[in-house]
């Protein structure tokens, strides 16, 4: 298995631990990934709120790079993934629009590259039974609230992953490493997304509600798959002095696969996970992170 890897802007900066942990997990499972040469911003939310052609052109430039490599894309950031999927879909439906995009990108053919989320590849392509033998640490007794947010599963016609009203992929993944997913209300509630900047008070209300529901359900930590959700939940916790660790699914899986905490970027999470994970990580491992 070999894929072109499109990290996107936030995985280079505020979501670096997501980037590190996905790479480590894929390396451990022997799935080869090659970073796109000179990738660029997909435009994300501001792109699609401003102009459809801009959004499609910015995101599909990266699909074009993958097409040149002859590889399918793996895209950890759900915003980047959603933009690529939407653009690909619109190009198929509207030939006039497709021509405009091809003109902007100097493309001779229609750009149709498969793009998938790493969680999708792990569960549906690689297979959970094949991950099982690699598990070295069981996180027995660890209660996790699997948080899906918005774009990972919505809208189903575009994201084509899991279920948009009752998803289970993150819950199933947690079980592979021995953790116990809790039943809770806010699996699919919006964290506030881009309002973090324009209407932070509303965003903090959204995020606080999610954190509170996780706490009420008895979760020790939250596990998720979106860099913006991660940032919003953690920054809300810093403001409100809450202490529930928020891990990327790749970090949780990585711990289970026996990868060292530092390699998974666990010291970068704003809310320290070491107290909750102290029963599962080695002492020298934690010390290495805290240095």
């Amino acid at each position: 298995m070999k894929y072109a890897y499109y990290p996107g802007c936030s995985l280079e900066t505020s979501a670096k631990e997501y980037d590190l942990s996905v790479r480590e997990v894929f390396k451990k499972l022997r799935i080869e990934i090659v970073e796109l040469e000179d990738w660029s911003c997909c435009g994300s939310t501001p792109g699609h709120m401003t102009n459809e052609l801009l959004s499609a052109s910015l995101s599909l430039r990266n699909s074009q790079l993958a097409a040149n490599m002859g590889l399918e894309l793996v895209v950890p950031c759900v915003a980047c993934l959603a933009r690529i999927r939407y653009a690909t879909e619109t190009m198929k439906r509207k030939p006039v629009f497709a021509k405009k995009v091809m003109d902007v990108l100097n493309a001779t053919n229609n750009i149709e590259v498969s793009a998938r989320h790493p969680l999708d590849i792990l569960i549906n392509e690689y297979g959970m039974e094949k991950i099982e033998p690699f598990v070295q640490r069981r996180l027995n007794g660890l209660k996790v609230a699997a948080y899906y947010g918005c774009l990972l599963v919505r809208p189903p016609e575009i994201m084509k992953f899991d279920d948009p009203e009752n998803p289970t992929s993150l819950d199933d993944l947690s079980r592979i490493v021995g953790a116990e997913p809790v039943m809770w209300q806010s699996k699919l509630e919006c964290c506030g997304a881009i309002l973090a900047l324009s209407s932070p008070d509303i965003q903090m209300d959204f995020s606080s509600s999610i954190l509170e529901k996780a706490r009420i359900a008895g979760a020790d930590m939250i596990v998720l798959a979106c860099p913006l959700c991660h940032s919003n939940l953690e920054t809300t916790e810093v403001s409100k002095k809450i202490n529930m660790p928020v891990l990327y699914f790749s970090q949780l899986l990585g711990i289970g696969l026996g990868i060292r905490a530092k390699a998974l970027g666990l010291e970068r999470n704003l809310i320290s996970p070491f107290e909750v994970l102290s029963g599962y990580l080695g002492k020298e491992e934690i010390i290495e992170c805290l240095e």
Binding site: C9, S10, E12, T13, S14, K16, D38, S40, C41, G43, S44, T45, P46, G47, H48, M49, T50, N51, E52, L53, L54, S57, L58, R61, R93, K94, K100, D103, V104, L105, C150, L151, R154, P155, P156, P164, E165, E189, C190, G192, A193, I194, L195, L197, S198, S199, P200, D201, I202, F206, T235, V238, S239, E267, R268, N269, L270
Partner: protein, 201 residues
Amino acid sequence: MFQIEFVKEIEEKTGINVLECYQCGKCSAGCPIGSSMDIVPNQVIRMVQRGLKDKVLRCKAIWMCLSCETCTTRCPRDIDLAKLIDTLREMSLKEREPATAQNLFERAKTGVKETLRIDRKENLKLINRSFLETVRRFGRCYEAGLVGAFNINSWLFFSKIKLGLPMFLKGKLKILPQAMKNPDEIKKIFEKVEKIEGIKI
């Protein structure tokens, strides 16, 4: 009576036939931010059905929508309402209310309360514009530059400042923009889109 021109314009641009909406209200029921909107999602599409183009392109609701895609997912008529709202945003920027620097001096004249009022609509438009400006220049989003530009232009000088230090200490805040080998390629994309669409981003 349905004003058919706007309905047709929307269908041509998006493929969405707004007349299929029978106002069940499921979109508004599931909208997480509905309570902060001036008109709720089913009213937005109702205005489009009624041809109230000017009114709907100037509403606050289309700028409160945070694209959670819940409405699109749940619509029993398979109407992509999130896409419709995106299109209304695009049209609003092009035809009615382009994103300009907030006229804070005008606001300041009316008093302290008005100056300090959070204008959510203008803030979002400003965030979008600042973000895209960094992408145009560097090819990748420059987070520190984006927040800086937003803080200055919105006069919310200290927004997010408290988070700056903890994020910096964890290596999450990059002082300098990310380097791309050929950022000019992205500049060209912006220029071409502006030319084809007849807009200024």
